[in-house]
């Protein structure tokens, strides 16, 4: 399946992906209206390593997702390879945050969990972090599945 991968050699650390993510999942049509004057809670996080190398981390859509197994509300599931949260079922226990080994499930600012769903569940249908990355550092493509 197509997943998001990062090419850290091209990541500029501009953090646009975080803003594009926050906007894409805001449900709004205007970025200013969606984000101005607000703290953002993106589902993708730009990290910086000790050498100043930056890269964005988002859900890996693991082949054996511990978050799905751990969800106490049955709100997380894998559909066609995409791990999704059923927000109507999520009660905000944050167990998924506690178990995700990559720190890719995060709290959304209102107390419940959120994670990258490859923009399949919002109005975009294609990952906006990838689309908006000015330097091709985030790609959405097919790579070899793990054994």
């Amino acid at each position: 399946m197509k997943r998001i991968y990062v090419k850290e050699e091209w990541c500029l650390g501009c953090h646009l992906c975080e803003y594009n993510c926050a906007f894409a999942n805001s449900g709004m049509t205007d970025m200013v209206k969606a984000l101005r004057g607000k703290e953002i809670y993106p589902r993708i996080q730009v990290e910086t390593d000790e050498n100043g190398v930056t890269y964005a981390v988002s859900c890996r859509h693991c082949t054996d997702p511990i978050c799905v197994k751990s969800c106490i509300a049955g709100a997380l599931s894998k559909k066609d390879g995409v791990i999704e949260i059923d927000h109507s079922k999520c009660v905000g226990c944050l167990t998924c945050v506690l178990v995700c080994p990559y720190g890719a499930v995060v709290e959304d600012g209102t107390g419940v969990a959120q994670k990258c769903e490859l923009c399949m569940t919002n109005s975009h249908g294609t990952p906006q972090c990838v689309k908006g990355c000015p330097n091709g550092a985030i790609v959405f493509e097919e790579r070899g599945e793990a054994e």
Partner: protein, 498 residues
């Protein structure tokens, strides 16, 4: 003396979401975030109007505008002139500039119009019919020869085969970044054209693109060695450059870092100064010796290009080069770009490429030696239409560099000499170099050339021409507008309506 900044950063605070992308992306440190007031602030005096922040601002909250703070109006002493005097009075130094001459001198391309077929012969639809753009650059024999069995002897002196008559002009590794070179090399390879190393040597990673590489030998001889010469598809001797005819080059030590220094074969951090003349070429006969020593060194496998700036006596110079053994002449007009040049030279020396090209082509024909050499035309070829006009005036191919830089992201802020190119092109700062992803850069170059090729085909088809060779020197396809008799005569074209 302090001036009011040349540009103003206009931030629409009602649109700003404080994402701080502008701050992170400005190598000139124009923007910063004030945590106390939770606002973005800017120091406009540092702004070079490269538009990086404008381009990346996700909410279009930014624009850079020309400051309207002006000195008292004076048609003779313009603001620019006065400020340059101030600056020189302060520093005692030569003014430096980058990219091509920005002054409002005539652009002849824009005064030449292209023909199209109507009624008496048909235009050709490039979507339905083959439309050929392949060219071979190099010496053509005066006479064919036959083998003893009567068949044609098909051996030829070395030719540079191009899928379309446009190449990426010389820009050295050092003046531009590794990623810019990678983009050019990869695009040239994919397109079946050539890029040019400039006088910076060839990074070892790029030897694999050799078939699409022109290696340059310039007055500093930086990076020149046997493997380098043999690596390319052609060798270019750079005698001059349109942006700065009559002077050499200067790569500041700050740019001669790491692989740049290694590739140039100079100590790291040392200034790379190319002398004004080649110190082994003080006349045309010396050039002939260099041409042939390079041919000897590469066993006559590669065509040799001699690149000269378009200067007053260009026709005679070209005639001399055509008789020097060179296979190809590259003429670089006065609008050609550069990574750094003294402002006075860039803006005042040399002549327009259109006139130079026309004069050279006609002179070589008059002397019956046009077949001895191919002609490459460079120095501000901006579009497919310019290419078509250049070919019709007599060029075999064009060099583009500024347009290539634009394709890679350059916004023509003309600040290359500062080494802080925010677009990752004219810089060696690793964090900035990184901004040009060659996957994207090469693709954009390929896109640009593909688009131009389509346009060239459309224009050719309109003229009823289905192969580029029938366009070459076909000046009947051109007409001038608003040109004097003299200009028309030099261009060898009629006025529109004639």
């Amino acid at each position: 003396m302090n001036f009011y900044p040349e540009f103003e950063v206009v931030r629409n605070d009602s649109r700003c979401i404080r994402c701080r992308v502008c701050e992170r992306q400005c190598a000139n440190e124009v923007h910063w975030f004030d945590a106390d007031g939770k606002v973005m602030l800017s120091d406009e005096s540092k702004c070079v109007n490269c538009q990086r922040c404008v381009t990346l601002c996700p909410t279009r909250a930014l624009k850079i505008v020309k400051s309207d703070c002006r000195l008292r109006e004076n048609a003779n002493y313009s603001d620019q002139t006065i400020k340059e005097i101030y600056r020189q009075a302060e520093t005692g130094g030569v003014l430096l500039s980058s990219m091509g001459n920005p002054n409002p001198l005539p652009v002849y391309w824009d005064k030449i119009l292209i023909n199209a077929s109507q009624v008496t012969n048909p235009p050709i639809d490039p979507l339905r019919e083959p439309m050929e753009t392949r060219v071979f650059l190099g010496k053509k024999p005066d006479h064919i020869t036959r083998n003893p069995d009567g068949s044609l002897d098909t051996t030829l002196s070395p030719q540079l085969s191009l899928s379309m008559p446009v190449m990426f002009s010389a820009m050295s590794y050092g003046s531009i970044s590794y990623n810019a070179h990678a983009s050019l090399a990869r695009a040239a390879t994919e397109l079946g054209i050539c890029y040019n190393t400039g006088e910076g040597g060839l990074h070892e990673d790029f030897y694999k693109y050799g078939k699409n590489t022109i290696v340059q030998v310039a007055s500093g001889r930086f990076g020149v060695h046997k493997d380098y010469l043999e690596a390319g598809a052609a060798i270019e001797i750079k005698m001059g450059q349109g942006a700065k005819p009559g002077i050499g080059g200067h790569l500041p030590g700050t740019k001669a870092v790491g692989d740049v220094a290694k590739t140039r074969m100079i100590p790291e951090g040392s200034d790379a100064i190319s002398p004004a003349p080649h110190h082994d070429i003080y006349s045309i006969e010396d050039l002939r010796q260099l041409v042939y020593s390079l041919k000897e060194a590469t066993e006559y496998r590669l065509p040799v290009i001699v690149k000269v700036a378009a200067v007053h006596n260009i026709a005679a110079i070209a005639s001399g080069i055509a008789r020097s053994g060179a296979d190809i002449i590259a003429i670089d007009g006065f609008r050609g770009g550069t990574g750094a040049a003294p402002t006075r030279i860039r803006d005042n020396v040399g002549i327009p490429i259109e006139l130079a090209l026309a004069a050279v082509d006609q002179r070589l024909r008059d002397e019956g030696i046009r077949n001895n050499v191919s002609i490459i035309c460079g120095g501000s070829v901006r579009s497919a239409a310019d290419v078509v006009k250049a070919i019709a005036l007599g060029a075999d191919a064009c060099y583009i560099a500024t347009a290539a830089c634009l394709a890679m992201g350059c916004h023509l802020c003309r600040s290359c000499h500062t080494g802080k190119c925010n677009w990752g092109i004219a810089t060696q700062r690793p964090d900035l170099v990184k901004r040009l992803n060659p996957d994207i850069g090469s693709q954009r170059l390929v896109n640009l050339m593909t688009a131009w090729r389509h346009e060239i085909k459309e224009l050719m088809g309109g003229m009823g021409i289905n192969s580029i060779e029938s366009l070459r020197g076909n000046r009947l396809m051109l007409r001038g507008v608003g040109l004097t008799e003299k200009e028309l005569q030099i261009l060898g074209i009629s006025h529109a309506g004639e």
